[in-house]
Amino acid sequence: MYKITLALKYFLKRKISYFAVLAVTLCVFIVVIVMTVMNGIVGDFKQNNYKVTGDCVVGTSSLVGFAYYEDFIKILEQQKEIAFVAPVIKSFALIRPKGTNTDEALEILGIDPNSYSEATEFGNTLFYNRSSVSDIFKVRSDPNLVGCVPGHSVLKISQTGYSDRTRISRYAYSISCFPLTAKGAPADAGTSMVRTKTFYVNDISRSGLPRIDGSIIYLPFDQVQKLCGMDGPTKRISRIHIKFQPEVKLRKGCEIVRSLWEEYSLQKQTETQAFLLGTVTVQNWKEFRRDSIAPMENEEAELIVMFGFVGLTTVFIVLVVFYMIISHKSKDIGILKSVGASKKDMIELFSIFAFFVGLLSSVIGLFAGWLFLLNINRIEDWLYKKYEFQLWDRAIYAIGDIPNRVNFTILLIIAAAAILACLVGAFFPSWQAARKHPAEILQVNQL
């Protein structure tokens, strides 16, 4: 009992323990903020990847695509676990903005707006047609023209320009594709090699993923199929996006699709273009977007390692502070031992002290961090206006506001880590002090 009483009194009466609290509080504060923001950024980033993908993708990365998809889509649509299915064609094209002479190689994505925005959250990335997705390729001024939807950084105008819808409809692209046969040979060899068509900007998509927003133009499914030479008697596509029913677990759903696909491709073994089916894989959205998610996860891992070092610093601060406190308190150790306290008691005494330091620091640090996070966007705006200083570069992290949703599990982990760091930091000096012979301490004090 005296250990708690005494630890509390040491804690309250020794100014140096406030320094320890201050130092640990600062560490907690910084870790809370950076972890919350980083966790939010990574979370948002993953969420955005999910939004553009749906739950599961059956597809090939081959530019030739794969055939016999229509029957498979019918099979998928019959599954009770599957909510939506959307065929997609992906290819590369030369893109020339109307009125210029420069081509740019970009990705084109042929989609059926309705099914694609059911299987993914494409509809929500649009600027104008969120509530009428089926109209995104219909040019209002002239029904004979075909619309397209570029990613917002493909269309190189500032955001303020978006508000004027008639203005963006002046932009158009002449899009040229190299159609390929199922074998991968140029489909129009001997004639023109490329198929070209002009599309008029009718909407803009902003997914929050810079790579997608800067390199993709969405086009009508049929048009792309034609441009890429995937039409004809045996039609081909690149992939099928699938959204499961809400209650279906991702793994379970993907397993179902995988076994359906295996069965289906076996059935089609004898068909003429069966060789294309071998390149098709079934991936969940994380696997499908791995190239994009993995670097972000790496960054998060690096951050965690970095904050491991912050924790280590905390340990050292506590260690130093405890050395100072305990060297002041060696007389007390002698006294306590002379009235029968054991080595273990001494370690416990200072561990309780350290626990108080850790606990108070965590409480203050978490609370201060929480307050700061609540206002982080206001603070950052202010910093930016006043000093042009941005904590998180928007171009790199692709975020609008700094995410500040507090994750209570993370808070708990940080608090536990802070307390543990204090205990570890206090252990060595208190163990050393506890080993001292009381007779020696009291003797030295007499001299």
């Binding site: 306590l336 002379s338 009235v339």
Partner: protein, 230 residues
């Protein structure tokens, strides 16, 4: 009278760099129950060292201390703490109170140190009452809530005596309890010890002052690391 403490052939030396300082060189001492013994010797003669060994605060290099017939060397370290807590009370020259605790808390500290948390809650009332009684005996009732730094040297030493008596130890060990006090104040402390001894308390006191030693029932001299008793 019954023998309480028997020290046989104690040796103790300290390493001071390359040289070894031999402090105790075969010291023998017997203390009977109810005795008030004074150990007298020059500064640096090893009085404190001897006292610490008698109270199991230190171990001799060689030799045996028997307490109530029990060899202290054979008591494991863990039980030695209990022994110090229950059987002996120390009074030091420099009082050695805990600055953060008030007078009352300093007095009942040995009870807290000797009990677990639930145990402490069971005996807390008793301990506080006993501490208050002790303070009253020592004339410090008014000072219970004061901090050590608010007290005079004599008052502090009386608090230290209160603490030493808290667990009703069989043996009270006092290391120059008056060494830091003026003679009048020192006298009052000696009176306290005398009255305790009259009530049956066994006391071993260390001093370098003959006049103070004379107040004790028996004087032993420590010269050159050995006891030249009387």
């Amino acid at each position: 009278m019954e023998v309480l403490l028997k020290a046989e052939d104690l040796y103790k030396s300290y390493k001071m760099g390359p040289t070894k300082v031999k402090v105790l060189k075969g010291a023998n001492l017997t203390v009977k129950k109810g005795e008030f013994a004074a150990i007298i010797g020059a500064s640096g003669s090893g009085k404190s060292t001897l006292l610490h060994i008698l109270g199991a605060l230190d171990r001799p290099d060689k030799g045996i201390v028997k307490f109530n017939g029990q060899d202290l060397n054979r008591i494991p370290a863990r039980d030695l703490n209990k022994f110090r807590n229950k059987k002996v009370g120390f009074v030091f020259q420099f009082y050695h109170l805990l600055d953060e605790l008030n007078v009352l808390e300093n007095v009942y500290l040995p009870v807290m140190a000797g009990t677990s948390i639930p145990g402490w809650f069971l005996c807390r009332k008793w301990a506080k009452n006993r501490a208050k009684e002790l303070l009253e005996q020592l004339g410090l009732s008014e000072r219970a809530k004061h901090k050590p730094y608010q007290l005079s040297g004599g008052e502090r030493q009386r608090v230290a005596i209160g603490r030493a008596l808290m667990n009703e130890p069989v043996l009270l060990l006092a290391d120059e309890p008056t060494g830091n006090l003026d003679s009048a104040t020192g006298n009052s402390i000696l009176e306290v010890l005398e009255s305790l001894n009259k009530a049956g308390q066994t006391i071993v006191m260390v001093t370098h002052d003959e006049r103070i030693a004379k107040r004790a029932g028996r004087i032993v001299k420590i010269i050159d690391g050995e006891i030249k008793g009387a």
